[in-house]
Amino acid sequence: MQIKKILLTGILCVCIFCVQGQKLNKSSIKGQVSDEQQQRISFATIRLLPGNKTVATDQQGNYQFLDLPSGSYTIQISVVGFKKVEQKIVLKESEALSLSFSLKGSQNELKDVAISGKTKATKIKESGYAVNVIETKQYANTNSDINQVLSRSTGVKIREQGGLGSDYTFSINGLSGNHVKFFIDGIPLESYGSGMSFNNIPINIAERIEVYKGVVPPYLGSDALGGAVNIVTNRDRGKSLDVSYSYGSFNTHRTAVSGSYTYPKSGLKVNVNSFYNYSDNSYKMRTYPKANVYLKIPTPDGTDFETLSSAKRFHNDYQSYMGQVELGLADKKWADIAVLGLTYNNVKNERQTGATQEKVYGNVDANSHSVIPSFRYRKNRIFVDGLSATVFANMSISKEVRTDTSSYSSYQWNGKPKEYFPTKGEMGDKSILHYNSNNALVQLNLNYQLSDQHLFNLNYNLNSTTREGYNEIDPYNKTYNKTNRVSKTVVGLNYQQNFFNNKLTNSFFGKYFGFSGRPDANKPTETAAYYGYGLASTYKITEELGIKASYEHAYRLPGLVELYGNGLDVSGNHDLKPENSDNYNLGFFFGKTIGKHRFSADGSVFYRNAKNYIISRPYTNIDGGAYSESQNEGGIKIKGADFELKYTYGDLLSALVNMSYYDAVDREKLEKGTIREKISYGSRTPNEPWLYGNTDVSLGKNNVFGVKGNRLQFNWYMQFVNDYSLSWSKLGDKTTKDYIPAQWIQNIALTYSLKNGRYNITGEARNLTDQIAYDVFKQQKPGRAFFIKLRYNIHSF
């Protein structure tokens, strides 16, 4: 019923737009921008004078200006790496002028030109949202995954438990874990099954990453409390191929292949995205008195402990691979893109530690794989000018198995097990836990450009998850055996207005969250509905300087496992309410180019007030069994600030420094259900870095060693994390408190590129000074490591 209502509302909106659209009879210009090889150029800036109207080409190189009065115009086309084109035109009344451009220039070489057009990244940054946009091009030759690139960004902190593929917690402006949502091309990551994760997706798959802090635009149709990350991949690029392989310390291999090809005549299109990762993750664990870390093992006679100065991780192999093939048609009358896809991913993961590194595992493994068929469709100018639609649907079928059958209760850092208990595993009684989950997603996005000033967006999302869990060793035990289902509907409506020649942009949005869930087949369905809303505004004071502000009353609905448990080590909590937060951002951006010098700066302050905060609490039952259960807590208040400064000099030098700070405090005065004052009221939440920053400096030169089209580039990157307390810092005598020491991690990389970036070789050193660095719950991260990466990359063939 609910779905029908929403669809009807959507159709009604569309009809209203259509009626309005048909009233217009003004002139328009549209066309395409391509290079000399007829490859279409996306993100080219098209400027129309007088009036200074600016649009960018889409991924197919298309652009359009609507509702133009008749008259004489000058049209300018500019894009990085190409010569600027300018043409005078005369537009008659009600004329639909078609005008395409072919640009000259070397497409792979960045020329020393003053860049007049703005990149897509700059444009997104200048929207009202508090957003970081990371163009991944500069990292494509490094051995990074998405997380490592994101952690260089302001307001973002990724805390990893170990090496490649390890568990991680993602935090945006102090809200972390489930409070942040992830997307690939606007599709929630969770709908890709369990194997897709930011710690295994190589950077080469991505073209751009957008980090929305606190306020999430409705086109990312999901419930996110603290923000969202959207990865925009390199697909639908016409013809392109990117192949890379890297090898390095801890026997780490990484391969990524992504490519696309469109048959010009038939419009038949093939996209391939794939990666393979493997690592022993056998880095050294260290004893480090400064951090109160001692690797203790019993002496051979068992009467005492001895301290190992270091020990290699011995049960931490990680392997993951993903393959995605898309087949479809492009540029048809009925569709700009219509593509069927199939994705498969597979992860094998040996667990080395529990939540802390004191708990050492030697025989606990987790394996999972998912198959995901998908369909996507896009059409611009559907029914009427200015209306475009995208549709996405997929179904992920995932299986996960966690094996814990060692007969030992635990292992030690020397790789040896402790006592033999025939019925025991390392996490409790022996178990082979199976989780089968299916996730179905349908997403519809409608955009309607009423005029240059008014843009509407409607997003509809239906996400349904079922999950079944059982223990292979104890298959008839009902505690383990559980099937449940949760469906979430998210509808977002956004209205954007642009005034004063695009100087002022306002977005107003509302979101509807519908929930229905069933704890198991015999129980009745539970339903609930919630409404979120927000706005984002930006005002450009000058061409260089602007300010922006945004606000959202955000919701996150509890997930399936939080509500109903997994039947194994997570107990469900039916009484969970959705968490909500009022998120405020205020920021500025500045960018100035003088000759070859380009300087940019942006900064923001923010405030979050999160209520009914869902927290997972571990507890031990009377028999010593370890479980966790989610609960609504009073929540936290966060205030903070971040900034980023960037300077580039032509293609010779680029330098960046940023810093992020936040103060998250317990906002609830009384313990729940009591009149007892909380001892943590007003105190900073523990175990979270609250001050951190990065510097990133690149030096490069083209045409070195007398060879044309090559480039040598050196990069130095440093990450700083201030010390932070492992527990509530106010509580307990100061002398007893445990801190994670401040960290200064330095990475360097040297890349040599040939043939305008077609062939690349990179040598990279991570954690060059071999610092002992820790993360969440004082888990040690890898020490010094070296990698070499080979990459082949072409945009046309």
């Binding site: 004052e677 909380k678 106010k730």
Partner: protein, 409 residues
């Protein structure tokens, strides 16, 4: 060069965030439990929503006892409260997850590790009992089994460990579940129940036995009694015996969940006459019979034959699920007299959360009173000679779990 960079960046950071710091508000810590200097006489182990703490107490009767800036977060040290053994300023603990036996000292309000040794001498590391055979020799055993270990806590060595050898005294496939243990010179006197490992049943019988010490040989069953069981406690750290006028009184723990789960049996005191190794057949103080069939747990001996117990008021109807044994406000403090065999007093509190510890000093008992409806846990003083109750220090931050008080000198 490196340090320079560091300093510059820090300066940078400092400059930028001065504004943010200025706006950051701070909250005062509130009251204080007397001067923090010196060695506190008492300590409190309790849990809060932010971990469990061992806190110093300088004054039981005034001020605020708080973990803000005081004490030690023992969440990851004392992971299982029943495994804590305290003697003077020293705390001993078996850590079941990592297989460690540790000795810690609590001085100047801070817990410090003296020494930790690997401890795998028992198959089940949740303690059922402990006893001191002399000042430096600690004997411990597992809950619900007949395993034991003897540890010299001066040099932290394991002196002996194993399973009580019952010889022919018990049939094959039968094990002990020791409920009280009393060193008597060259002998040890045990009270226990017997479990049939084939049927997995524990008999409704209280047994007594003696065994030679220190050889732990020559195990002899000295008697059986079916008036109540188990004769003593099932879990370590539960008060269950005291001596008065040369006699030892042992409280039985038939209570479900926290005791031996014998709902058909009453809670009461057995008596062991001085030098005897049997339960006095002429004495049984049936406390349940005086309290509408309720079961009790022991709290502390008050002197003059009087003991403080907590009564699980109407648990038969109140307890619906396992956790209710701890978190239902059904507990009431009662004072019983083993000589007159009477409940002499019910302390005037509303129904409380589970509490099982008290300190006795100069004839006065100090108890932690956890009333779920109050703004905090409070220490109360009960003077049994004048029958007077006085409210004392406030304990900030406690949750529904049982606070435990320790006397350090």
């Amino acid at each position: 060069m490196f340090t320079k960079t560091k300093n510059r960046s820090l300066l940078f950071a400092a400059a930028l965030f001065t504004a943010a710091s200025i706006t950051a508000c701070s909250k005062s810590n509130g009251g204080d439990n007397g001067p923090s200097a010196g060695n506190p006489e008492f300590a409190l182990h309790y849990s809060t929503s932010k971990g469990s703490y061992l806190l110093p107490i300088n004054d039981l009767m005034s001020g605020v006892i708080t973990p803000v800036g005081k004490g030690t977060d023992v969440t990851s040290i004392f992971t299982w409260g029943e495994n804590i053994i305290q003697k003077g300023k020293y705390f001993y603990n078996v850590e079941p997850n990592s297989g460690k036996f540790g000795k810690y000292s609590f001085e100047k309000g801070v817990l410090e590790t003296v020494k930790e040794i690997p401890f795998t001498a028992m198959s089940y590391l949740y303690l059922g009992w402990h006893t001191w055979t002399d000042d430096k020799t600690l004997m411990i055993g597992g809950r619900g089994n007949s395993e034991y270990a003897v540890i010299n806590v001066d040099n932290m060595t394991l002196e002996k460990s194993g399973v009580f050898n019952t010889g022919k005294e018990l049939p094959k496939d039968h094990t002990l579940s020791i409920n009280s243990i009393t060193p008597q010179g060259s002998k040890i006197f045990l009270t226990f129940m017997v479990r049939n490992e084939v049927t997995k049943l524990t008999y409704d019988t209280a047994y007594t036995a003696s065994v030679d010490y220190p050889s732990l040989n020559n195990f002899k069953i000295t008697g059986k009694d079916t008036r109540s069981a188990p004769p003593g406690a099932l879990r370590n750290g539960y008060f269950h015996k005291f001596s008065d006028q040369g006699n030892t009184y042992i409280l039985t723990h038939p209570m479900p969940m926290l005791g031996g789960n014998k709902p058909n049996m009453p809670t009461g005191f057995y008596r062991v006459k001085d030098g005897s190794t049997i339960l006095d057949p002429g004495y049984f103080f049936n406390v349940s019979a005086l309290s509408q069939g309720d079961n009790q747990l022991g709290v502390e001996y008050l002197g003059n034959g009087k003991a403080l117990l907590i009564n699980a008021r109407d648990a038969k109807n109140v307890v619906k699920e396992k956790n209710d044994w701890w978190y239902k406000p059904m507990w009431e403090y009662i004072v019983v007299d083993v000589n007159t065999q009477q409940i002499v007093k019910k302390l005037d509190f509303p129904g409380l959360l589970n509490s099982r510890s008290a300190i006795v000093k100069n004839g006065k008992a100090y108890i932690a009173v956890n009333d779920a409806k109050a703004d905090a846990i409070y220490i109360w003083e009960y003077d049994s000679s004048t029958d007077k109750l006085t409210r004392g220090a406030k304990v900030e931050g406690g949750d529904g779990d049982t606070p435990v008080l320790y006397k350090l000198r």
